[in-house]
Symmetry: C2
Subunit: 460 residues, 2 copies
Amino acid sequence: MSDPRLTDLARQLPGLKLSTDPGDLEHHGRDWTRRWPPAPLAIAYPGDIAEVQGIVRWANAHGVALVPSGGRTGLSGGAVAAHGELVVSLDRMNKVLAFDPVDRTLTVQPGIALEAVHNAAREHGLVYPVDFAARGSCQLGGNIATNAGGIRVIRYGNTRQWVAGLKVVTGTGELLDLNKGLVKNASGYDLRHLFIGSEGTLGIVVEATLWLTSPPPASQVMLLAVPAMDALMKVFAEARHRLHLEAFEFFTDRALHHVLAHGAQAPFAEAHPFYVVTEFDACDEAAEAAALGFFEQCMEEGWVVDGVISSSEAQAAALWRLREGITESLAKYKPYKNDVSVRISRVPAFMADMQALLAEGYPDVDVVWFGHIGDGNLHINVLKPAEVDYATFVAQCEHVTTLLVDTLERHEGSISAEHGIGLVKKPWLGSVRSDAEIALMRGIKGVLDPMGLMNPGKLL
Amino acid sequence: MSDPRLTDLARQLPGLKLSTDPGDLEHHGRDWTRRWPPAPLAIAYPGDIAEVQGIVRWANAHGVALVPSGGRTGLSGGAVAAHGELVVSLDRMNKVLAFDPVDRTLTVQPGIALEAVHNAAREHGLVYPVDFAARGSCQLGGNIATNAGGIRVIRYGNTRQWVAGLKVVTGTGELLDLNKGLVKNASGYDLRHLFIGSEGTLGIVVEATLWLTSPPPASQVMLLAVPAMDALMKVFAEARHRLHLEAFEFFTDRALHHVLAHGAQAPFAEAHPFYVVTEFDACDEAAEAAALGFFEQCMEEGWVVDGVISSSEAQAAALWRLREGITESLAKYKPYKNDVSVRISRVPAFMADMQALLAEGYPDVDVVWFGHIGDGNLHINVLKPAEVDYATFVAQCEHVTTLLVDTLERHEGSISAEHGIGLVKKPWLGSVRSDAEIALMRGIKGVLDPMGLMNPGKLL
C-alpha cells in the first residue's frame, strides 16, 4: 500500500477491504477474454453502498479510473483492468436483502451469483427466468450491466425486463434509487433503462429489485438432427407455430464434436450437420401429442432426420449439456468469439452469407458456431490452431470480423447480441450505432460521469 | 401566414401543410386537460420524416419551440401549446408501413391510432396487447412518448415492452434509427428506452416497429360486488393465485353511479361500496371450474357479496363498459385527475391513508376513484361542484394533491403512473424523482435538445 492515493483511500474508508496482493490483482484484473494482461492499481471490496460512494468520491478527488467488477465471466473485456485502475469488486455485496410475496420481487446486492438468485426465487415457489451457462459464477450486477440474455430469451426476454428497481452510484458518487419496484411510473426519463446494458461506464449497480414469475408448466426437451441450414428455419417456424417454446437453440457438428471430446455421450449413431435443442411446455397429453405431431411432420418433410425426446429430468439435463457444454469444451483453444444478432427474419440469409464468409476467411481453421436461433443470435467461436501464436491469430480473426461486420451491416444486425462491446468489439461499434448515436452516448456519459472515471475505454 | 418565421418555413419546405386557421389553432393547441388556453404560432402537418427534420432545423434556426402532437388524449397537459409554439401534428403520418410474419412485427408511422394498430395486428392473426379506453383517438407516437399503460398491463406490461425499434428526430434534427427490431442487441446505451416516456421533450417519434404476440386464449369477464376495501386485496390475491389474469380493475360506487347516470345498465339490484371487473383465461373446463371455485370461495369468505360472469362476448363487453365508461361519464364535470401508483404490496395501506385524506380534503365534493389494482395504479377524479369557479376548484384540488403527495412519498409511490408529468404534475415531480435524478434528466435533455426547443416547460 505504498501508493499515497491508496493510503488516502484507506484513511478515508478505514473499514474498506483493499488488496494489492499480486494474486488478487491478476485474478480480479481480467475477465474470460484473457487478452489483456491485468494491471490494476488495487482491488477494493466494498461491503456496503456507503463504501462504494466513498470510493467514487475518492476516485474523483484523485482522478483514478474505476473498473466495476462482478463475476468477470464476460467475453468482451468489459471488466478488464489493464491501466492502473482501481477494481471495485462487488464480491462481498452478495446477499439477498428482501423478498416480497405480493409484489413478487427479490431485492439483492449486485455481487450475488445468478444461480443464488435462482435458488432464492425457488425457495419462494417462484422463478427468476434469465438463465445461461455461467449462472454459477456470473453476478447479477454484471448481468444488469450487460443486459444479459441467454437461453430463455425467446419466452422471457433479456435481463432488462426483470429489473423492477435499481440503485446505482453515478460517476460523481451520487446514489440514485431508480423506479423502486413500481409497475407503472410515468415520471420522466427512465434512467433505470439507461444503466441496464451500460457496461459500468455510467456508474456502479449497488442493489437491484428483480421481478419473479410463476414457474413454467412441466416441459420436455427434444434434440433434433437437422441435415441442412435451410431446414433449420423451417423447423423453428413449425416449432413456434405448434409448441409453446421455452428455448430453441442450435449448434453445428463441430460444436458437438468438441462437447463429445470433452466427455459428453453421443446422442445419435451418426453425425449430422446441425442439431437443435428445444424445450417446450408439455403439461398435459394434448401438449405431448402436439410435440409428437411436430416431430413427425419434421421427419416427413425431411427437415429432421433423427431425434430424441426427454422422458426424465435427468435426460433433459443430459440433452441440455450438449448445448451448454460447448463454451467450456472450447476454452482450452482460447477461441476468438463473435456474438452477433440479426432480426429473426434475416437469420437464413445472414447465415448463408456468413457460412460462405467463414469458409473463405478461415479455410484451415476450426470454426464452431451455435446460438439462440429464436432470438436471431449466433455465437461464432474461432479456435486457435496450436501452431499459430496468439497475436497473429487475433489479427487474423479481426480481419474476418471486419468482413463479417460488412455482412451484418447489410442485414441490419448487431456486432454484440448479449456479450456487450467492452474492449473486444469497440472497433466495430460504428457498424451498429450511427455517429450521431455514438456522439449522444458520449454526451450522456459526460452527464453521468463528468470526470470520465467509470470503466474508461470500454464501450466508448 | 404574416409571421416571417412561417414564411421562411413555407419557403424551406414548400410541400409542408401548415395552418394558422383559428379553429385549427384551438383544436391542435390543447389536449384533454382543457386548463390552458391554446395559443400556438401555427400547426404543421408533416407528411414524412424529411419534413419533420426540416421543421426541427427551421426551429433551431429561428429559436421556435415545438410541441409534438398526437391524438391529444393526454390528461397531463403534455401536448398543450399555450406560448406561441409550432405544433407538429403527426395526423398525416398515420400508415402501417410493414408487417413481418417471422419477426412478428408491425412497423407504423407515429400518427396511427392505437385501434388501427389493433386492427392491423388482428388482420395477421396476432395482437398488439397494449389497450385502454382512448384507443380510437390516441396515437401510437403519443403512447410511446408517455409509455402508455392501460388495462392489460398486469399480463403484458406497458408500451415500453412492445417497442422493437424506434425512429426519432432529436432536438437538432438528427434522425436516429434505434434498435431496428433486434431481440438481442448489447451495443451501448439503449436510447430507445430513453425516448419512451420522455413526453416529447427529447425529440419526435417518427416511426415505430412494434412486437406483436399470439392472441390470448378464450377468456371470461367477471363483475364482483365487494363490501369493503380490505376485501379487495384478498379478492385480488386469490384471483392471481387461482386464475390466469388478463385484467383486474376496480371502481367505487360513485364511479358506477356516474356510469349508470350516463346510460349504462345496473348490474346488481343493490349498490355496493366497490366493484371489480376481472378478465381471465377460460379456454377449457378446468379453467372455467377454477373461476367458479374462485368465486365460491370469495362468497364463502364474505369478500364478495354478489357477482356476474359473462356468458357471451356481448355480455363481456357490457361488463367492461361499466369500467371503461367512467372517464367519459365524468367529462362534463371537468374533473381534476390524479393518477398515482404504489407497489402492489403497498396498495392496502396507501388506499386506507388515501381514503381518510380524501374524506377530509374533499368533505363536500364528489370524488370518484377507480384503477388497475393489479398494477398498483389508482385514478382519483375530483368533480367540480357547479357553483365553484374553475380556478378556485383547481387551487383546492392542488392543495389536496400536495397532501396526497406526502402520503405517496411515505409509500414510495409515483405522482404519475401512466398519464405522464406534462404541465399538470410538474409541481410534484420532486416527490418521485430526487434532485440528483432531475438534474441528470436536465443534463440529458441538454445533450439531445441543446437549444431546449422540444416541448419546453413540460416534464422538466
